[in-house]
Amino acid sequence: MATEAGSAPLVRTDKASKQSPGRRNSTRTLAVLGALLLLLTAATLSLAVGSRALSPGVVWDALLHDDGSTAASVIWDVRVPRTLAGIAAGAALGVAGALIQALTRNPLADPGLLGINAGAATGVVLSITVLGITSLWASVWFAMVGAVVAGLLVYSLASGGRGGATPERLALGGAVIAAVFTGISQTLMLLDAQALDQLRFWSVGSLARADDETLTTITPFVAVGLVLALALVRPLNALALGDDGARALGAHVDRTRFLGLAAMTLLCGAATSAVGPLVFVGLAVPHIARMIAGADQRWTLPLSLLLAPALLLFADVLGRVAVRPDELDAGVVTAVVGAPVFIALVRCRRAVTA
């Protein structure tokens, strides 16, 4: 992902752009390394903290050789899958958020706010209530279909006419689609008591029930989605100049949009089916990434990829210790922490014309 020295990014809105490109990129490299370190810290905490607290040394030993001790079994059977699922889901949500913000040129876009997660959730609920599917492996596909349908509906509501899919129309369309899908999934849950009992835990958004199966199920989807997203960074940068500007630079606007939407669908569908409809992770992280690295997707996308799982793991760990002996679900923590960030962003925009 490194850029050739001297190739200035297309879009420069940050103050630091007055610095020489070389120095700017060294700052960004440092930021990426810092994010990596943060993610490692979060993962270590996620392995060490819980109802049975383990010292980092013990964690390290257990990771290196699984000697069958209690500590090792706690780590290998419970915490490793939970941590890895958190990393996969977090990375998916963060990159999906960065993608959707780049595609819509809307800094307030988020898969949750635009109804994509609600669509995925409805797919999962449908598969459980109507078809009686209980394995995650099967419900992932339904989550994908739901996410695709929601994404296409939002986009078709917002696009066309004069000015294309403006952020304002997208927000409106997203709110509508989210409400419709939520209504549908609530109806299905109310008609099926058993499903309600199963799904009310999932719909909070939590890593607590993530296991090996979760991980093996969602990893391929997340991997494909991430590769696709990272392959799109250059055309996405061009897209920031508006459709005509992007075309002038030789970017294929419609193709980029379609592929971006496909990547986002894969990522949202996989993350939602694994850990439930989490809000705000996809919204806040790309903003933090842009604050650090400016508006260049070649840096913000990888940064989001590292920062989002760190954030999700921190939220999960915080939930484990906040209300002992009980646990707060990660979804509640991200909502409680993410909402103020969102509101601060809204307040900071001098005149919100979103």
């Binding site: 109310l190 909070v204 991200t334 509101i343």
Partner: protein
């Protein structure tokens, strides 16, 4: 309330000129502009609501023909139909009418205030706040209907105040209010999901029905407080309506015409919240009615301005019709009316967005 207000002021200059009459008090201190078309629309919508209501009163386990329903309502029914209609089904219908009217009014006030089609109690976080309040009562106290209502109204008011304060920055701007509301809503949804997950299953199932907005098992005890609440709110809204119309022309123009902008806005916000609180207390948070009713009524009246009267009537029609439909979808499950309004309202709003866009209005 002494600012003299010119009555010839038009709202947004869109659509054809509307015929209207101005009713004035003798001292010319109070005046009310009556738009003929809007009044006609209101009356027609109410008539349709009554027709659906008669159908709803006649359907169920014990079917009664429309003619017999009307006869019973006029006090000439057999003891059996009298019991079924007046004791069992009429309170539910009346609650639906009152709740719908309150939601329609609340939505029209919010949308006029925020100058944004998305400005509705659903989006500004009131709905989720009242849901949180109601849930807390259900789960912590295992409360009765009255206690749930108090909790819901408290939660809704607290949320509305919070959103208002968070959105305040040298005054309130419509779009910022909506966006902050979306943020707070998302936060509360997380909290609500957590509360549901922590509850015992029977409680969760009960709370879930309430959360979606339901008119199941409503009796005369639910009708009275809702009617009283509306009786308090409606006259106050009528007094503030003319200023609201001027406020729609923009803050500078309104200020120039002698309307105290921020104070009026606060008064309207309180009234809109109160109307929504009345509805939520009676039936839980029914989504989308407050959002759709003003939009739909504006299509019918083609009048500028907040369209309060028509929106109020349209809200009543929407809730009564949706409740009738929700009882028919699944005979045994007793679906909450809210799931119907969510889906139907959403689809309608989607179509509306498309139409608006084609016409280049958003």
């Amino acid at each position: 309330m002494t600012a003299p207000v010119p009555t010839q002021v038009r709202g947004r200059a869109s659509g054809p000129r509307t015929r209207s009459h101005v009713v004035r008090s003798r001292s010319h201190r109070f005046s009310l502009r009556v738009d003929v078309r809007a009044l006609t629309v209101g009356v027609l919508v109410l008539a349709t609501t009554a027709a659906v209501g008669v159908l709803a009163l006649g359907t169920g386990e014990y079917a009664i023909s429309p003619a017999d329903v009307v006869r019973t309502l006029l006090g000439n029914g057999s003891p059996r139909t009298d019991f079924v209609v007046n004791d069992l089904r009429l309170p539910r219908l009346l609650t639906g009418i009152l709740v719908g009217a309150a939601l329609g009014l609340s939505g029209a006030l919010f949308q006029s205030l925020t100058r944004n089609p998305l400005g509705s109690p659903d989006i500004v976080g009131f709905t989720y706040g009242s849901a949180t309040g109601g849930l807390l009562v259900v789960l912590l106290v295992g409360g009765t209907g009255g206690q749930i209502a108090v909790g819901a109204v408290g939660g809704g008011l607290a949320t509305a105040v919070l959103v208002y304060l968070l959105a305040w920055r040298q005054g309130i701007h419509g779009y910022r209010l909506v966006l902050v509301g979306i943020g707070v809503s998302a936060l509360l949804q997380g909290v609500n999901a957590y509360l549901l997950a922590k509850a015992r299953f029977t409680q969760a199932a009960q709370a879930m029905v309430w959360l979606n907005g339901s008119l199941n098992g409503r009796g005369w005890a639910d009708v009275r407080p809702a009617a009283l609440g509306l009786l308090v709110v409606l006259p106050l809204v009528a007094l503030a309506a003319s200023r609201l119309k001027i406020l729609e022309m923009g803050d500078d123009v309104a200020g120039g015409l002698g309307v105290p902008v921020q104070r009026t806005r606060l008064v309207i916000l309180v009234l809109a919240t109160a109307a929504c609180a009345v509805a939520t207390a009676a039936a839980g948070p029914i989504p989308f009615v407050a959002l759709i009713a003003p939009q739909l009524s504006r299509r019918l009246t083609r009048a500028p301005g907040p369209n309060l009267l028509a929106a109020t009537c349209t809200g009543a029609f929407l809730v009564v019709t949706a409740d009738f439909a929700s009882q028919r979808i699944h005979e045994s499950a007793q679906l909450p009316v809210g799931v119907v309004t969510a889906v139907v309202g959403g689809v309608y709003l989607g179509l509306l967005l498309r139409r608006q866009r084609r016409a280049g209005r958003i």
